[in-house]
Symmetry: D2
Subunit: 140 residues, 4 copies
């Protein structure tokens, strides 16, 4: 199986049982080894008391992008430390895109930057994620 | 108005319009100036493809605890940088508690630790949040 | 050998070859399994262009405290992700203390909070560190 | 004065009084508004007990790059939260380069990524820094 096929099959399997990513309405724009691009739309039930998207919404999108990108090599990977800076607010109806990029991937540890933008290109949040790569492979 | 009353009124106002915290089923256990304790239960639609709570769920609970604790002094505060380490997995039905503690609060910047535990006491995630304290007051 | 003896011997071995910690003038106040308290004094060559301690100085003290605390169990541990918030400035002559506390320690991953204070008790920086625990033991 | 001249003059002023950056042997490769590239060499007194560069060394280089890039617009900026992932070890004699890139810069808050590489191109550490932009200007 090619690396691309492994990536697609692993993320299909992850996504199909990921109820929360589905509740968020996450769409997969691209999945490749070490890479993922996701898209979603801000709905009313995602807002906080300032009438802007709750910080947990952009975090969750980025965290899904991290999970997909870091598992796409076929090895199970689990998040151990993540951080996010919120630089712009989001309103109901805004569409956002998260792009995960693999910055470093050694035997045990992977580091990813995930940039979250509006479809207009404006950055809204910056996420860094570190994962531990287990010795277990996905059965795909 | 006492500091305690300000804290309660601000958080009431925040919570009543916070659709996402309500979707999460967040209950307020305690709100005091610079402090908050929240509680919620993991539901099926909060799980990811590993059948454990999506990282965004514990993050969101902690982020709400940060928002309530940091706004409780009556000044509007916005999150600028947060990080979380996930140390234990959560299953459907698990009940968790987030406790926000103010570590530092200067004129412009506040720093908070939020510890997320199971009701049994086991730590499941560790969150650090930094907020920018605006010059605008809550109208309560 | 008792756990306390292992901790002391490992940190002795680490410290005796740690040229940078020695340049910093770090003194060990306490070393126990999963715990360390260190002390140092700000010298002129540690200042930045604002005439306050360079951010790297408090980071370095905290990073040494992390290394000592996380290796004290006798297993080699390496830092994989650390973060620090600087909440107060330090001047030449200030004496500071870093206290490392083990928040979580599983088979592979350890998480530590390190609080840096002036000897007067004022917090000056807050550090969170995550380490990967290798399968290699210290030979002590 | 052009923006480029402001950047150069501010960083000259910062660097000339920055004893610790000078002790580290930091050289400025490039300074532009919102950007900086720095270079240094690992010396024996920068090693820790594993005979590799102490984590505080790469952090310090990145923190200087952050300070120079974020102050280069002429407004005084102070670090409020920084994080670093160490992905490769460094030995005595290794030469490293830190490149600071401005990811977001609003009225009050700036976010920067700093990548630290060996001169051979291998990434050794990834740093994210958030600064608070004061209302005070550099007098240059």
């Amino acid at each position: 199986m090619s690396e691309e096929t492994v990536a697609t099959k692993v993320v299909d399997k992850m996504y199909n049982n990921d109820w929360f990513s589905q509740w968020l309405g996450i769409e997969r724009v691209l999945v490749e080894p070490g890479k993922s691009i996701l898209r979603m739309k801000i709905r009313k039930e995602m807002l906080n008391g300032f009438a802007i998207a709750h910080g947990g919404i952009t975090y969750s999108l980025a965290d899904s992008a991290l999970a997909f990108a870091s598992n796409s090599h076929g090895r199970m990977a689990v998040s151990i430390e993540t951080s996010i800076s919120h630089t712009q607010s989001l309103r109901e109806g805004d569409e956002i895109i998260a792009e995960a990029e693999e910055i470093s991937c050694t035997e045990k540890i992977g580091v990813y930057y995930i940039t979250i933008k509006k479809v207009s290109g404006e950055k809204v949040a910056l996420f860094k994620g570190t994962v531990y790569r287990t010795s277990k492979n996905w059965d795909v």
